[in-house]
C-alpha cells in the first residue's frame, strides 16, 4: 500500500481492481472477526454492566447467558477455573486474579491496537476530511485503552467502571464501523463507479 502514499491526491477510488478486491476481502474478514468478538463478549457478559461486574468480580450473580453455557466453554485458559457450579446447580463466577487479567490484557493491547493501525492506514487513503480521520483514530485507540483498563478498574476499584468498559466498546464499535464504511464506500460507491466509467476503467 505504501507506494500509493507518494501519489499526490491518491484515494482508494483510483485503486486497481485487484487492490480493491484484496482490501475488500480483508475488511470483510476483519468485520467477521469483530462480530465474533462481540458474540464472545455477549456470551461472557451479556454486553451489560451487570454481566461485566459478575465476570470480573465474581459472585453467583452470573448472567443468564453465562448460566446457560457449560463450565469451561468460555475462551481462554481461565474459563474452566473461574466458573463453577453454585449450590443450586447454577453457574457461578469467581473473582479474577491479577494474572488472569494480565493474560488477557497483554495480547489485547497489541492485537486491538494493530487492528486499528492497519485499518487506519486504509482509511488514510480515503478522501475523508482530516478531522474525521483523527476523530476515528482517537475513538479507536481510546476505546482500546478503556476496554483494556476497565477489567482492572472493575476488579480492584469499583464495579461502576463496568460502564467505562461498555463506553470503550461502543467507541471501538463506532470507530470500526467508520473504518469499514468509508473505504468500502470509496472503492465501490456510486461516485467511485461513475469516476471509473468516466476514465473507461473496468470494475
Amino acid at each position: 500500500m505504501t507506494q500509493y502514499f507518494t501519489y499526490r491526491g491518491f484515494s482508494l477510488r483510483r485503486a486497481d481492481l485487484p487492490v480493491r478486491l484484496l482490501l475488500t476481502a480483508f475488511l470483510c474478514t476483519c468485520g467477521i472477526a469483530v462480530a465474533v468478538g462481540a458474540v464472545n463478549y455477549q456470551l461472557r457478559t451479556g454486553l451489560s454492566a451487570e454481566g461485566s461486574k459478575a465476570w470480573y468480580r465474581g459472585g453467583l450473580a452470573a448472567t443468564e447467558a453465562d448460566a446457560r453455557a457449560p463450565a469451561g466453554t468460555g475462551p481462554g485458559p481461565e474459563s474452566g477455573a473461574a466458573r463453577t457450579s453454585g449450590a443450586d446447580g447454577e453457574a457461578g463466577l469467581y473473582a479474577r486474579s491479577p494474572l488472569e487479567l494480565m493474560d488477557a490484557t497483554h495480547p489485547h493491547l497489541f492485537n486491538q491496537a494493530f487492528l486499528f493501525f492497519v485499518l487506519g492506514h486504509i482509511l488514510a487513503l480515503c478522501a475523508v476530511g482530516p478531522r474525521l480521520k483523527i476523530a476515528v483514530y482517537l475513538a479507536g485507540f481510546g476505546g482500546v485503552l478503556a476496554d483494556t483498563a476497565s477489567p482492572w478498574l472493575i476488579r480492584f476499584a469499583s464495579s461502576s467502571f463496568a460502564w467505562l468498559q461498555l463506553a470503550g466498546q461502543a467507541a471501538m464499535g463506532l470507530a470500526f464501523a467508520a473504518l469499514l464504511f468509508f473505504p468500502l464506500r470509496e472503492m465501490w460507491g456510486r461516485e467511485a463507479r461513475a469516476a471509473r466509467r468516466r476514465r473507461g476503467e473496468r470494475g
Partner: protein, 173 residues
C-alpha cells in the same frame, strides 16, 4: 534512515502522527504489561524465567506450582510470543526506517530489536533444551526487547512531535 524521502516521520501530517503515536503508545504499554505478566507468573529474573519453562518443583514454597512445559506447550508459547512480542517489532522497524536516525544508529537499534526478538522467540527451546542455566538468556532477551522497543518508540515520537517540520509536506487526499 528515511532521509531523502517524503515519507519521513517528521514530515507526516497530523492524522498519520496521531495514528502512529497511538500504535507506538500501545506497543510500549504492551511490552510493559508483558514484563509485569511474567513477574506475576514466575518472575522476570533468570531463575523465574527458567521456572516458567522447566517448572518449579525444586522451589520450597512456590506461590503457584508450575509444571515443566511439554513440547506442545512450548510450541504454543513460541506461537504466543510470535504474536505478542515479535509482531510489534515489525511495525517498529518499519517506522524506524522512516525516522531521521543516522544509518549507524538506526542499524544498531534495528539490529538490537531483531536480535532481541529472535532470542525471545528462541528462549523456550533454549531453556527447555539447555537447562535452567540459560534462564539469563531468556530474561535478557525479554528485557532487551522491551528496552529497545521503548528506545525505538521514543525515537519515532521525537521525530514526529519534537523535530521542526521543515521541507515539503506529504499530504493525504
Amino acid at each position: 534512515m528515511g532521509r531523502g524521502s517524503l515519507l519521513t516521520l517528521h514530515r507526516l501530517p497530523l492524522g498519520y502522527r496521531v495514528l502512529y503515536s497511538g500504535v507506538l503508545a500501545f506497543i510500549v504499554l504492551g511490552y510493559g504489561v508483558g514484563i509485569v505478566q511474567q513477574m506475576l507468573r514466575s518472575g522476570i529474573g533468570p531463575a523465574g524465567m527458567a521456572h516458567w519453562f522447566l517448572g518449579n518443583a525444586d522451589v520450597a514454597e512456590p506461590a503457584h506450582l508450575l509444571f515443566p512445559m511439554a513440547p506442545a506447550r512450548l510450541l504454543d508459547e513460541v506461537w504466543r510470543l510470535s504474536l505478542a512480542d515479535v509482531l510489534p517489532t515489525v511495525v517498529l522497524l518499519a517506522l524506524l526506517g522512516r525516522s531521521d536516525l543516522s544509518p549507524a544508529a538506526g542499524g544498531l537499534l534495528s539490529g538490537t530489536l531483531v536480535l532481541a526478538a529472535l532470542a525471545d522467540l528462541a528462549a523456550p527451546a533454549l531453556v527447555a533444551g539447555g537447562g535452567a542455566g540459560l534462564g539469563w538468556a531468556a530474561a535478557a532477551a525479554r528485557l532487551g526487547l522491551a528496552a529497545s522497543a521503548l528506545v525505538g518508540a521514543g525515537v519515532c515520537m521525537r521525530d514526529m512531535w519534537l523535530r521542526p517540520r521543515s521541507g515539503p509536506r506529504f499530504r493525504r487526499p
